[in-house]
Symmetry: C2
Subunit: 462 residues, 2 copies
Amino acid sequence: MLKATIKNSQKLIENSSGKNRLARKITLALIETALRAANPRSVVKKNLLLKRNKLIIKGKTFDLNSLNNIYVVGGGKASGAMAETVEEVLGDRISGGCVNILKGTRNQFKTSKIELVEASHPVPDMNGLQGAKKMMSLVGEAQEGDLVLCLISGGGSALIPLPVEGVSLEDLQEVNRALLKSGAEINVMNAVRKHLSAVKGGNLAKAAYPATVVSLIISDVVGDPLETIASGPTVPDPTTYQDAINYLKEYNIWDICPEGVKKHLNRGLEGKYPETPKPGDPIFERVFNLIIATNRMACLAAQEEGRKRGLKSLVLTTFLEGEARDAGVLVSGIAKEIFYYNIPWKKPVIVILGGETTVTVRGKGRGGRNQELALSAALKLRGVEGVVIGSVASDGIDGFSNAAGAIIDGQTIDEAKRRGLDALSYLLDNNSTAFFESIDDCLVFTGPTGTNVNDLVFIAVV
Amino acid sequence: MLKATIKNSQKLIENSSGKNRLARKITLALIETALRAANPRSVVKKNLLLKRNKLIIKGKTFDLNSLNNIYVVGGGKASGAMAETVEEVLGDRISGGCVNILKGTRNQFKTSKIELVEASHPVPDMNGLQGAKKMMSLVGEAQEGDLVLCLISGGGSALIPLPVEGVSLEDLQEVNRALLKSGAEINVMNAVRKHLSAVKGGNLAKAAYPATVVSLIISDVVGDPLETIASGPTVPDPTTYQDAINYLKEYNIWDICPEGVKKHLNRGLEGKYPETPKPGDPIFERVFNLIIATNRMACLAAQEEGRKRGLKSLVLTTFLEGEARDAGVLVSGIAKEIFYYNIPWKKPVIVILGGETTVTVRGKGRGGRNQELALSAALKLRGVEGVVIGSVASDGIDGFSNAAGAIIDGQTIDEAKRRGLDALSYLLDNNSTAFFESIDDCLVFTGPTGTNVNDLVFIAVV
């Protein structure tokens, strides 16, 4: 059994009573379940099975006798725990490996076959680049009959940087900054990034050919688009050099691009440097991209847990986006309709939403998107009983706080009033952390969970 | 049969085909049904029945033989149509009446027993005050055995202004402006308003005592709090003079209040002027506040219509609030979960939301909250098929446009691109009306509907 993820569960229920207490207990139990469903160790264990001479990866069976080497590569915020678990399962069957992990986390993981390289995030560094080179050299050696296990999770894009020849890390950063500033959409940014990288946009899979490639992927992108998670190192890239150049021109970045970048893209356009592998490319016949943890899976696990407890439970959406405080209003609106009218579901009921909201900072406070959502919901839920809303970041770090998020009920705002706090002012000042720090039973603490499948929002009406 | 409310239905489906066309047709039919369910004429007809010698008001039966006089008073945006219909039903049984209606709409209604007085909205005027005086004089004459029918709808607060003695219309406006500027919540504003009015906060019902009072109410307030709709002229007021003074001090308005206002409130506090009638006051034993149209009723009527058509249909919430563009993102997120995963409902399904969003204007464009919601949703729904989102203001006037709202599908943004429009820029400039004017098949036109039960949002996934 895993240890409890929420560290202060008792504190979060001890001040409440009756239906609020019940709703809080259920919400905390479901948060716990959802976070476990996204735990990299448990999802790797669940999806990577060794049975006699068979290796079963998410239902796909490989005969170990006909596999020569197994190499393990990859990178991302969850990849240290993933690598450690892969080694626990495969042990000496691993021929070699290199995985890039977050700087400062090396001593959390124990591996002997897989080298763990600390790299910087979100701004890539030379360590990351060295690790990426080792990975490319490993997969370059892989032959037909070999298996490359690629461990992908959020942050992988920055953690495995490998610019093409003639382009430096600084060049990449300059282009990235300009793209971010331009307000370009993610597909625009990725078209450019993939055409400046030797890893992204399917290039890692291409380098591993003719070996079989299995990517185990933990998704931190709403909607789980394979080509976007960690910039899709083992996923076909439909975009072209022409697209990349067009986008840079459209967003007025082309003229300020470093010379190396322009030169490379022009060479690519002239066919002097290979394209990223495209959908339909035969190399992908040997590539299996397997998502093993997503926001949806975490939500559905919580739904299942709710049902086991005899409660009607359902996932409303895993595409929750938009401004956190408005999401809070909406979530409370759903809660109120159930509470007052039993519409569209008769209470007791659990409604689960997943996704990731944003906070447009206008105030000067300390906060996080989940806490802001919860505070906003609390303001709309004064006086109702047996309604709890919980919102947490699955990585355990909500915004600029050391809390994962918060849970609130119909008493939260009155409790704040008793303590002389004006909740609305705190919300308007983006000061949700300070608000909840002044109340004993709202902030949810898990510590860093080592995974990221975005945020989870629970509505419990009992 | 009523005429079709949507004037351009044909235009809204002729460019689409397949599942999009089907989803548009259904959405338009449900909008039509919802608007009819809020139509003041039809809801009065449905709830006010004359059967032999019995008057049946929303299931409550009055013996006409034991009723002496029937007086009709009230005011609000829907009250002209309500008064006309009441007269159609009761005819000569009406002894007299006076109802305040929107300026410029007198010639739309035909009554002979009920005087219709044009008054100004949202800033009250002397006409409104004169009408209010007539109402008070009518209900003042009413005796035991008489019935006062009070027709209440949104806008009634401004349309029936009657300041207490010693307070002028200008004084009221000054206090109102200060309250609005202070950001005070509606319950704060109403506590003050009710203690400066001879009509609001149950005072009309008090004046009518010992006659029986039946209020027919069309709600334009999310959540339908009786004491808030038109400031509750026939509803108990739990707030006191002390509350009103405390609030004004708390929000730093007391010191800048007109002398007449301060004097009146102090007199009230000293018991020299009567309190508004409180919950439990015996006068309310003869008062029946009957809500005959709400956002929820409109949503449920649409749900029923969807079900009649064999489609799973449900109301998710009637507490939709918050920033319009974020509500659009959320609504599209629900649509996507259904479209891609059949979660939490298997398609085809209709999801209905009601409420009223707001637009924080940051750009310079022309728009309305429903159109902004629809535009924001469209940006998130590119490429899906058979998904339509429709958002309309039930009064037929969305923001500063002459459209009621808009419907969009997965083709809307591509269609805009073909016409050279960058949808995101329009959204960021709060320019949703200009955006949709450039596309043929999105804006929904109904003209003013003469009712207001807030906004209706439909998600159709077929």
